[in-house]
Symmetry: C2
Subunit: 553 residues, 2 copies
C-alpha cells in the first residue's frame, strides 16, 4: 500500500500508527527512526513516497522539530531516505525488501554485478562508481577489482575422484601454522601465534564493542528477568531474541520470517554442524562449496561426513553450470559478499541459482557480513527470494563480537523439527542471559548504532589498507573491498602464499594465505582482515608484508 506524499501531512502519524506515548527509553529520534525503518521494510512506506515535512510531523507528534530532523538524518545515513530540495524527503530504497529495490534509488545500486569493485589510490576509494582501475595521483599501481581471477587452468571437479590433491608440503618450520595442509586446529594455531599486527579475517573492530550499552542492557535484563527464565529454556532460543532477530532480518536483510521459524544457534559454525546432521538424514552426502571459499566452512562440512566438491567463483559469483556438474544436491554460498573474494552475486547469477534450487537444489546461505556494505545498501539475501530451498545463517560475530557465539538459522519447514532436535542434543539451547541482552540491543536500536559506527570505522581502515597496499605491493590486485571486514590481495610474484604468510608471521604479521581457501589451483594471494586493526597498525603491517615479499623474490 504505497503512500503518496500528499497523503501524509495531516494523517502521516495515523497512517504509521505513530504515538509517542509508548516511547521507550533511548531517545525519541531513535524511536521514530525505528518506526519509519519498519514502515519502509513493511512496504507501508513504499520507495518513492515522500515523508511529511519535518515541521508537520513534529506538530503531529508533539515533539520538537529536531527530533524529526535527526530521525530523517539517520535514515538518510542508512541509505533509506534522500533529501531532494523541492521534492522534500523521499524514500529512495527499501534496499532489504526486494531484489531490485536498490536500483530504484537514483542509480545508487548500478554495477551490482561487480559490486565489490572499488579503486585504489592514495585517498579514499571512489564510491559507487565502476570503471577501470586508476589512482587519484594518475599512476596505476595496485589494481582493485571485484573478483579473484578464476582458476587457471580450470580443473573440472569429478565426484568420483574427490577433491584436487593438496599441494606438496612447503619447506617451512614445522611449528608454523602454514607448514602443512591446514587441519581443524589451524585457526587455533594461527590465533596462538604471537604477532604484532593481526590481519586474521573475520573479526570486526573489537575495540568498539559497546561495553557500556551491553552492561546497561544486562542490568535491565537482570532487573526484569523472572526466575523461570534461569531454568532450562526453549532449545530454539529465547522468544524475545527470536522476535528481535525476525525483526532484524526483515529490516536489514529483506527476509520475512515468523519468530518461531528462527533457531538461535552458537554461531554459523554450529549452524553447519546442526545442518550436516539433518542433511545426512535427508540423504544428502555432498555439499558443494565455492572455490575459493571458506576453509572453516569446508572443514565443518567434511567433519560431518559430507563431501565438498568445489565450484569456481567468477566475477559474477559461483558458476551455476559448474555447480550443476558436481551433481551435489546442496551448496554452501556466501552470495552477499563472497568469502574470500568479495564478489557480490550478480542478478543474472542469482536467477540461475534460484532456478537450480527450484530444480531441487538446496542453498545453505552464509550471510556472514552482508550488513557491512560501504558504498551502497546491501543486496537482499537469497532467502528473501526462495524460502523453501534456502537454509539461511547469520550471526553477530561480525556485528558485535565472535566471542558472543550467537547466531541464527532459518530453515525450510521440512528441516525445522529435526534441527531443533539437533540443537537440543547439542547443548539444550544457547545461554539465556546473553540472548536477552542482545534482544534488547536489537530492539532499542543499539545494534544498528553499532553497525553504523562499524561501517564508518571499517571504511577508514579499508581505505588505509588499500592505500598501504598501493604503496607496498605494487602490481598486486585487491579484491572484494566494497564490503566486509577483509580484502584479498593477489600478487604477480612467484611465491607460494603459504610461504609468504609464514614469512610474514616471522616478521610479526598474521594473515591467511588464499590457498587455504582453495581446493582448485589458482593464483596465490593473501586474505587480510582490516577491521580489527587501527589505521596505523594497518600501515605498519602492510609495510612489513611489502618487506617480506621483496625479500622472498
Amino acid at each position: 500500500m504505497p503512500a503518496a506524499a500528499s497523503e501524509l501531512p495531516g494523517r502521516g502519524s495515523d497512517f504509521l500508527q505513530l504515538a509517542v506515548c509508548d516511547l521507550p527509553g533511548g531517545g525519541k529520534a531513535e524511536w521514530l527512526a525505528g518506526r519509519l525503518r519498519q514502515a519502509i521494510a513493511d512496504g507501508r512506506l513504499a520507495v518513492g513516497s515522500r515523508l511529511p515535512p519535518t515541521r508537520v510531523l513534529a506538530a503531529e507528534l508533539r515533539v520538537s522539530r529536531g527530533v524529526i530532523t535527526e530521525a530523517y538524518r539517520r535514515l538518510a545515513e542508512d541509505g533509506h531516505l534522500e533529501g531532494r530540495r523541492r521534492g522534500g524527503t523521499v524514500v529512495v530504497a527499501a534496499p532489504f525488501a526486494s531484489p531490485d529495490a536498490g536500483s530504484r534509488g537514483g542509480g545508487r545500486a548500478s554495477g551490482e554485478a561487480t559490486g565489490a569493485t572499488v579503486r585504489a589510490g592514495q585517498g579514499r576509494p571512489a564510491q559507487g562508481e565502476s570503471g577501470t582501475p586508476r589512482t587519484t595521483s594518475g599512476t596505476p599501481r595496485t589494481t582493485v577489482r571485484g573478483t579473484v581471477p578464476p582458476a587457471e587452468p580450470d580443473v573440472p571437479y569429478s565426484r568420483t575422484s574427490g577433491t584436487v590433491p593438496p599441494p606438496p608440503p612447503s619447506p617451512l618450520s614445522p611449528t608454523s601454522p602454514f607448514s602443512r595442509t591446514p587441519g581443524p586446529d589451524v585457526f587455533d594455531a594461527l590465533r596462538d601465534a604471537p604477532a604484532t599486527v593481526d590481519f586474521t579475517p573475520g573479526r570486526p573492530d573489537l575495540a568498539t564493542f559497546p561495553r557500556t550499552a551491553w552492561l546497561r542492557a544486562e542490568r535491565a535484563v537482570l532487573a526484569e528477568l523472572s526466575a523461570e527464565h534461569l531454568g532450562y529454556g526453549d532449545p530454539r532460543g529465547a522468544p524475545a531474541l527470536r522476535r528481535a532477530v525476525a525483526d532484524w532480518l526483515a529490516r536489514m536483510r529483506g527476509v520475512r520470517v515468523e519468530p518461531d521459524e528462527v533457531l538461535i544457534v552458537a554461531g554459523t559454525a554450529q549452524a553447519l554442524t546442526l545442518l550436516h546432521q539433518v542433511l545426512r538424514t535427508d540423504g544428502i552426502d555432498a555439499v558443494a562449496v565455492e572455490d575459493p571459499g571458506s576453509l572453516g566452512g569446508r572443514q565443518h562440512l567434511r567433519n560431518g561426513g559430507l563431501a565438498t566438491p568445489p565450484v569456481p567463483v567468477d566475477e559474477e559469483g559461483v558458476r551455476v553450470d559448474a555447480l550443476r556438474a558436481t551433481g551435489a544436491r546442496a551448496v554452501l554460498l556466501t552470495p552477499a559478499h563472497q568469502f574470500p573474494t568479495g564478489v557480490v552475486t550478480s542478478g543474472e547469477r542469482r536467477r540461475e541459482l534460484l532456478g537450480w534450487a527450484r530444480d531441487g537444489g538446496l542453498i545453505l546461505e552464509d550471510d556472514y557480513d552482508a550488513e557491512h556494505r560501504y558504498d551502497r545498501p546491501p543486496v537482499p539475501a537469497l532467502r528473501a527470494l526462495l524460502a523453501d530451498r534456502v537454509c539461511y545463517m547469520g550471526s553477530v560475530s561480525k556485528l558485535l563480537a565472535p566471542a558472543l557465539r550467537i547466531g541464527w538459522l532459518v530453515a525450510p519447514p521440512r528441516y525445522r523439527a529435526d534441527l531443533v532436535d539437533a540443537k537440543r542434543f547439542n547443548d539444550l539451547g544457547n545461554a539465556v542471559l546473553p540472548q536477552l541482552v542482545l534482544a534488547r540491543l536489537m530492539e532499542s536500536g543499539g545494534l544498528e548504532r553499532q553497525l553504523r559506527l562499524l561501517r564508518r570505522r571499517h571504511r577508514d581502515r579499508r581505505d588505509a589498507m588499500i592505500a598501504a597496499l598501493a604503496e607496498q605491493l605494487p602490481g598486486g590486485t585487491v579484491h572484494g573491498a566494497a564490503a566486509g571486514l577483509h580484502l584479498t590481495v593477489t600478487y604477480a610474484a612467484n611465491v607460494p602464499d603459504a610461504e609468504f604468510a609464514a614469512a610474514a608471521l616471522t616478521r610479526g604479521v598474521k594473515c591467511q594465505p588464499l590457498s587455504w581457501h582453495r581446493q582448485l589451483p589458482g593464483r596465490p594471494g593473501l586474505v587480510l582482515g582490516y577491521a580489527a586493526s587501527a589505521p596505523g597498525a594497518i600501515a605498519e603491517g602492510v609495510a612489513l608484508l611489502g618487506d617480506t615479499l621483496r625479500e622472498l623474490t
Copy 2:
C-alpha cells in the same frame, strides 16, 4: 607437610604466605577464608592441625580480630573447621581432598554407604544418623530411605535383545507430556505445560541467582577485557575459567587437574554429545546406564547411536556384577548422589567400580549436584581416585542456573585432543563473557557463598516437602533426600506413575514420573524437585498431589 598447632602462632601467616597487601575487593574475611580453604585442600593445613588463635593471627596480618573470626566461622560452616573450647580451632576435615578424609572429621561421615538416608517427621530430618524410619511424633507415616527398591522381578538385560520394551501407552490425553513413551521433546513439552506449582527436578532455587554479584563481576570483566578476548577464542574455554574450575574441583570435589585438562562445555548435555562422538571413534558402541537413571542422559547417548543397557541400582549404588554382565565397555554414573534415587555409592561399591574400570571399563561420571550435601560433606568424585578411566562432568546448572549453559569435562589424556576437536566443530567454544564472569565469581568466593545460601534454603525446602509428604502421602517412601535438589517418592497404590503425574498436571502440579527414568520395571513413583519452589508452594503442591492420588485410588 602437616602443620602442628604449635607451629602456627608467630609464623602462621608466613607459613600460609598470607599477605593482606594483595587483597582483592570482596572483603578481608572472604579472602582469608579462601586462602585457608586452599591450604586445607593443598594439605598445607592437615586435618588435626590447630589454627592460630584469632587474636594472634589478627595481629600478624594487621587486621581486626572480627575478620579472623568471620573467616573461621565460614570455614566451620563449610565443615572444614571445628571450634574446641580449650583445643582452639582445629581442621576437622579436608573433605574434598581424599576419599577417606571425611571419616577423620569426628565421625561426621559415618554411614557413608546409605548417605542419602534421612528420616521424615514433622520437623527437620535428623542429621547425620541412620536407623529405622521414625517421626518425631512417634507415629510412622512416611518412610524416608536411601534408595529406591531394586526392580522386582529383576529383569536381566541382554545386549542382543536390546532394552525392555516400553510399557503400553496409557489412556491419557494425547496432548499430555505423559501420554506416550517420552521422546526427545518431552522435557520441552513438560516445561511448556502450564502449572501453578513446578516440581520439575534439576533446578536450584533460581530466585536466589546472585544478580547483583553477577552484574558486578560482569562490569569488572568488561572494564578489564582486552579487545582480543572478544574475537574467536580457545575452543577449550577461557584460560581464566579453566583455572578457576581446576581450583574449584580441587577444593570442592577432590579432583586435581591442570587447567589445560579442563574443557569448558555448554553443560553436561553437551559433554555427553562430545563424548559419544569420541567414544564411537574409539569403538565403544554401548554405554551402560543406571536403572533407575536419568532419562535425559539416556536420550543423549541413544541420539549418539550408543546402546544404553540398564544396570540396576541398589542401596549401595550401581550393581557392578550386573554392569559386568552387560559387556558394555563404558558406564554413565551419578555416584555422589544417584539420579533419581539419591543413593550415595558405598565405599565397597566404589572399590568394585574402580576394579571394573581398571579392567578396561570407562566411567562417565556425571557429578551433577554433588556439592549440595546437607548433612555431611560431599563424597569425593570417582575421578579423584582413578584419573585414567574416568570422564568427569560437572556444571553450574545446579549451582547458579541451567540457563547459563556452562559446564566442564575432564577426560583421560587419550580422549582429550579428540574432545577439543569435537567441541571446536560443535560451536568453536563457549561464549567468552559469561565464562569470565563465572571465573570471577569462583575466584572471589562468590560461588561458594551462593552454594552456602542454596544449601540452607534447599534444606528448608526439602524439610517442607518431607513434612508435606508425610501428611499427604501416608504410606509413601521418600528416597535420596540427604542431598541434591529433588527427592523421589514411591507409593503403594496401584496407579501407574505417568497417570499420576498426568492427573497432577491437570491440577496444576508439574513433576516427573519415576518410570521415565527406568528401562527395567519397578515400583511407580514421582521425582519431585523441591529446590525451586518456596515452602508455601511446596505444601500446596504436595497437598494437590495427595488429592490426586486419593482421587485415582
